[in-house]
Each structure stands twice: as C-alpha cells, then as structure tokens.
Symmetry: none
Subunit: 263 residues, 2 copies
C-alpha cells in the first residue's frame, strides 16, 4: 500500500467513525503510530481533518445529514424554513413516511397540526411525537444504529416493504442531475423500501446538498415528485431539475437568525 493510499484510507475511515484513536488508526492501516502521526499532520495541513490529543476527528461532522443531534445549529434556520414549506405539502389525514435525517426532522416539527399518520425509522422523530396525542406514529422495528439514532437492518427494510403510504419525505447526502445519492450505505436499502411504499416522493435537501455526490446512488430523478430546498440553492441546478419534470420548491429565506444559545 502506498503512502497516498494509506492517507486516503485514514480519511475514509475517519469519515465513518468521526473520531479515532492513534492506536485504532494504526491498526486499521497497518503501520506504526509514528507514521500515522505524520500522516495526520499532513492531512490536517491539507484541511481534511483535525488532530486531537490521542487521535483525530473529522472536520465537519455536522454536515452529516443523518447526525443524531436534532437541534444541531448547522444551517438550522434553512432547515427550519424547509421544514415549514414541506409540511405545507401534506394534507390532513394523509399517511406520511418520514426518513431519518436532520432536515426531515424539521419537517416533523411542523406536521403536528396536520394530524397525519406517520411512519418512521428515526428515533428523534419518534421522540418528537411520543407525547403528542394528535398524531399516530408507527415506528419500524430494527437495530439501533447508535451514532445516528436510526433503526436499521432487515427488520426495518421488511417493515417498510409491507407498508403503504401517501407521501414519503426523504433526506439524502447529495443531488445532481444524475440523481440522488447518500453516504450511508446502511440506509440505502431502507430508503429504497420507503420509495416503493409511498405514492408521492418528496426530498428535503438544503442547498449544501446541491451538486454533491455521495458514494451510494439512491435513485434517479424520475422517481422524485418534488424537492424542497432553501433559496440559496444554485439556480442552474434548480432550473435543470425543473426541466426534467421535478417540482422544486424554494423555501423563503428566514427573516431572523437561529436562536443562539446564550447563557
């Protein structure tokens, strides 16, 4: 294995786990801790990660659409606007499949008045409605994937394959004119099952997802009925999507900034 390849593997591994100790990395790539140290120094200078005492950390864990923290501040206001706009697409008493993912979580926050029937595999979404009596929430079973708070595995896939719903509101890692991709291979099967289960497919993607491509392809644009994004989405790509028959909804920019926690 070349040094380049090794650095690449360190990067990739770190993307998956967010944190890793020196020992862990050195075992994973099969070199001494000294070499890993040197690699980390180079990679940090290149800006792809951040060293910490005892290991290293990814630079922008927040850009992970499926990160567990439901109230992450990363593009909070944009996601909130998207959530509001997307919730308006839902009619009363419709059955809605909600994907896991922070943007979709914000949609959920605005769904309570619609009193729909909700199906999800996201623990944060389930918690959100757990005390609300207006909404009936069905949680798919499965194994809890710790970092993300998502239920995964064959049980989850099976649950969605048996389901039928009016709308599916989905997250993803990236969108281009070639289609929609996602970074978490574990979720792809589940998302495909969701797509099959719902009549209408809506993707909620903030502008940072536009033009990005993640590792695993999820579906083509022909499957997508609508995309809800914020007003900072690149105009050319929005136009391109509309040309291909996808309805694109631009959520209006939020008036006031996100409430920053001041102590």
């Amino acid at each position: 294995m070349t040094a380049e390849e090794r650095k690449h593997r360190i990067e990739a591994y770190l993307q998956g786990v967010e944190f890793a100790s020196l020992e862990e990395l050195s075992q994973h790539v099969g070199v001494s801790t000294s070499t890993v140290r040197r690699d980390l120094t180079v990679l940090e200078a290149a800006g792809s990660l951040r060293r910490t005492h005892g290991g290293a950390r990814v630079l922008t864990p927040k850009s992970d659409e499926f990160a567990f923290s439901a109230r992450d501040s990363h593009q909070f206001s944009e996601k909130e606007a998207i959530g509001r706009a997307c919730a308006e697409l839902i009619g009363s008493n419709q059955s809605v499949i909600l994907d896991a993912g922070t943007t979709v979580y914000h949609v959920a926050r605005h769904l309570e008045e619609k009193a729909p029937q909700i199906v999800t595999n996201s623990l944060p979404v389930a918690n959100l409605f757990a005390s609300a009596n207006k909404v009936e929430v069905i949680l798919a079973g499965g194994v809890i994937y710790p970092r993300l708070g998502v239920l995964v595995g064959p049980m989850t896939v099976e649950a969605f394959l048996k389901m039928r719903a009016d709308v599916a509101i989905m997250s993803a890692g990236g969108i281009t004119l070639e289609g929609i991709t996602n970074s978490h291979a574990l979720l792809i099967d589940i998302q495909r099952a969701m797509l099959k289960a719902a009549q209408k497919i809506v993707f909620c993607l903030d502008h940072s997802k536009f033009g990005r491509q993640s590792v695993s392809p999820l579906c083509g644009l022909d499957m997508v009925d609508a995309i809800v994004t914020d007003s900072l989405a690149p105009a050319e790509l929005v136009a391109g999507l509309r040309e291909r028959g996808v309805e694109v909804i631009l959520a209006p920019a939020p008036v006031n900034p996100a409430p920053v926690a001041a102590h």
Copy 2:
C-alpha cells in the same frame, strides 16, 4: 477513547437524559469525576450545555418525557436498587428482552457494562442506549402509545413472536399467589409474546405491587423464574412465592437518605 470522543459522548448522553449527575456521567464514559468536571467546563464554555451543582443539564430542554418520566417517578430509590440487583443477574453477552415500565427502565440503566444484546419495545430504554456503542439494541416496531412511550400493536407482537432471547425482564401491575396481572390491556399480548420468546423470566416489582391485582391476568407463577423486589416487600408473600419455587431477590435498601440522628 480519545478526550474528544469522550466529550462528544457526554453531550450525546446528556441530550438523552436532559440532566445527569457527575457520578452518572463518569460511569457512562468510564473516567474519573475530575475529568468529567473538566470536560463539562470546556463544554459549557463551548455553549453546548450548562453545569449545575452536582451535574450538568442541556441548554434547551425539549421536555422529552420519557427519559425523564422514569426519573422523577415515585419510589425512585427503591426502583434504582431493584435495577441494580436485577442487572447483576445478567451475564455478559446474553440477549435480554426488556419490557416497558419504569422499574425495568432502571434495570436498563445498569446494563451497559454487561454489553448484552437488548430487545425492547420501550422508547425510553431505546433512547438510553441510543448513543452507547457497547450495546446492540433491537427495537421492536409498532405504534407509539403516547402516554407511556411504548410500542404497541400487532407489529410489536409479531416482532417478539419471531424473537428468541436468554432472559426477559418484565414489569407488571400486581402480584399475588394466584399469579401476575397488569393494568394495561394493550400490553398483555406483547408481554405474553415476550414470555414465550425468553428462556428465563425475571419480574421486577417494587413492594407496592405485592398483594395487588390488576384487571388483566398475565401469567401464573409457574412461568416465573425469579422476582426482584425491594426489602419492603411483605414477608409472608415473599415466603409464599419461595414455597412455590420462585426465586425472590430482595434488593438491599438504598443507602442514602436514612435520617441521620443529628442531636
């Protein structure tokens, strides 16, 4: 585990429980309270939580009732003692079914070190482990029953009927020599499925359940392998249970708030 990772886990754990004591946090991440103190100071400066006397609290309480309802319930200390005693019955790498119910929730709090495989239909239990990597948690699917944070319905029953586990740790509404009863009729089917799925059946019942009868009969004493209760359980009934071959474990009374004679 790196320091960075540890801080992240503290944050995540706190998101789940809203408030946690120093002791609790230090056990969860496996370092001394001194180190947790230092971490909390850093995290507070970073604005992600708020320190309090004796622990720390999240900034934006989302009043997630589940993680919390188990906490401020009455007979907290008895349940905590039962939880600790019951957790000791579980061996490493065993598969455990956890019923919904506050007493069983306290068992879950002490299970993390055992690193078992956990199957449950309780959202609070799922949330408890959502950020812990040591434990594999399988959540049964189903409809969320709002007030209790439990998954119910045919999906849940079916999930447990397909399952096999070493131990089932159960809650109930009452116990007499005639058997065990429960007040939530909705849960009876699910509990019966749990009983079928597990080889060993353990009931966790604080002393207030002894001699009580709820509306729906759940099972006879012959199905029960062990009962964990606190030291205030009525002696005659305990003796009666033992005569019938049920192992009864009396959790030692909690150490704390015994009124110290200060003259």
